[in-house]
């Protein structure tokens, strides 16, 4: 228990902040993923073959390649890419992107591929009559989307999105290879300096379990709230 004391003698406060970091990265990645899903879901559902192809290659490639490889791509390639773009605008100094942004972006792209599939499935499982009814009522395209399609999509998507959240949360452990101090990295540091890896990695496992447990409870509440009318 001494090892977990707060302050200078133990690792309690460090691990607490690391946990907050894990939560922050997961939420950021999830939001980035949603924005990717917002772009690629319509492309996936569109009738244009080219747009379809683009969206399908995104989800297939990302879901077929290990997360760790994607993270290495961003970790080693991110700085180069940003500097290349900056050089077009005439900025030639060295730019370092911090580990949080690289990590959140890498995990976000992965999580976005899964979210895209979830939203596609949800839109497709909405009853066709709903689209027709909206047309008959003479709703504008905007009104049809925001008032009819989106609310139903969200309700149908929540159970599967909770899976995506679990995947995203667990994937953040992989960002530790880039040096961002989240639960896994902090445990690694603590294990190295105390020579007690068994304890710290087991404690990390407990922290992850706690996070998944609590978030599942919260998501279940959301699920109940959004399916009230059914």
């Amino acid at each position: 228990m001494e090892l977990l004391a707060f302050g200078k003698t133990g690792w309690g406060d460090e691990l607490f902040y690391a946990t907050l970091m894990t939560i922050a990265v997961s939420i950021t990645a999830m939001i980035i993923g949603f924005s990717f899903a917002a772009i690629f879901t319509p492309l996936k559902l569109s009738k244009n073959k080219l747009l379809n192809f683009i969206a399908n290659s995104y989800t297939t490639v990302i879901r077929g390649v290990p997360e760790l490889l994607v993270i290495y791509l961003f970790f080693f390639g991110g700085t180069g890419a940003v500097m290349y773009v900056a050089s077009i605008f005439g900025y030639n100094e060295y730019i370092e992107i911090n580990a949080f942004i690289t990590g959140a972006f890498a995990i976000g792209i992965i999580s976005g591929a899964y979210s895209t599939e979830v939203f596609r499935g949800a839109v497709q499982s909405i009853d066709k009559g709903q689209f027709e009814a909206a047309n008959v009522l003479g709703l504008s395209k905007f009104g049809k989307f925001f008032k009819i399609i989106l609310p139903q999509t969200l309700r149908l998507a929540i159970p599967n999105l909770s899976n995506v959240w679990q995947i995203t949360l667990k994937d953040t452990s992989l960002i530790s290879v880039t040096g961002l101090v989240e639960i896994m990295r902090q445990s690694y540091i603590a294990a190295g300096s105390t020579r007690d890896p068994l304890f710290f990695y087991s404690f990390a496992a407990v922290l992850y379990l706690l996070l998944t447990f609590v978030s599942m409870k919260l998501i279940n509440k959301l699920e109940v709230k959004y399916s009230k009318g059914y």
């Binding site: 490639v61 077929g64 290990p66 760790l68 390639g77 667990k170 990695y201 992850y208 379990l209």
Partner: protein, 225 residues
Amino acid sequence: MDFELMINSFPKLLNAAVITLKLLSVSLIIGLFIGLLFAILRLNKNIIINKFAYGYSYIFRGTPLLVQIFIIYFGLGQIEYLRTTFLWVILKEPYWCAIIAFALNTGAYTSEILRSAFQTIKPGIIEAGQSLGISSKIIFYKIQIPIAIRQSLPAYGNEIILMMKGTSLASTVTIMDLTGVAKYIISTTFKPIEVFIVAGGIYLFMTFIIHNMIKFLEKKYGFNS
């Protein structure tokens, strides 16, 4: 684009892909047995056995694979007693540690897949077996298990692909699998995009093969045929 690097690194990465496939197949075989065992325990009416099996799958599905590998590779070596037993021969090798972690992980997911398959078997099929006077042991081995395996093929196919991606974590414990070699080449040449395209292409090809194999099996053994 450095095409020369892509061509030069291809054979190296292909060799590493063999290690990835070895890790995958060995851990899947062990994991299948673990999964079957725990699926059966889950269906047991004894509440302690039942809860134990549930706890196992909950813990392994609720924590990242990376934590599991680190606990087994770095953590277990710390226990002095283990070092004196024959287990140490296995646990000092990163290769076997990775396989143990993968097998336990995929075992947890497999047990969930098989459990739900067992639970969706229509009771009429079992009753038919009973009324034919077949013993419950044979009903289980000859009727329930084959049906459950058939039913769980699509979900298990997904699990195989997830596990293939999971084997990339072996590179964190010094095993030079496909991701490990890719990382090595990236960090020596600083050409991440080229290496990513080649290594990612090999992974996608393996995903494609696994996907089609499962599709073929589903067609051959599925209910719709």
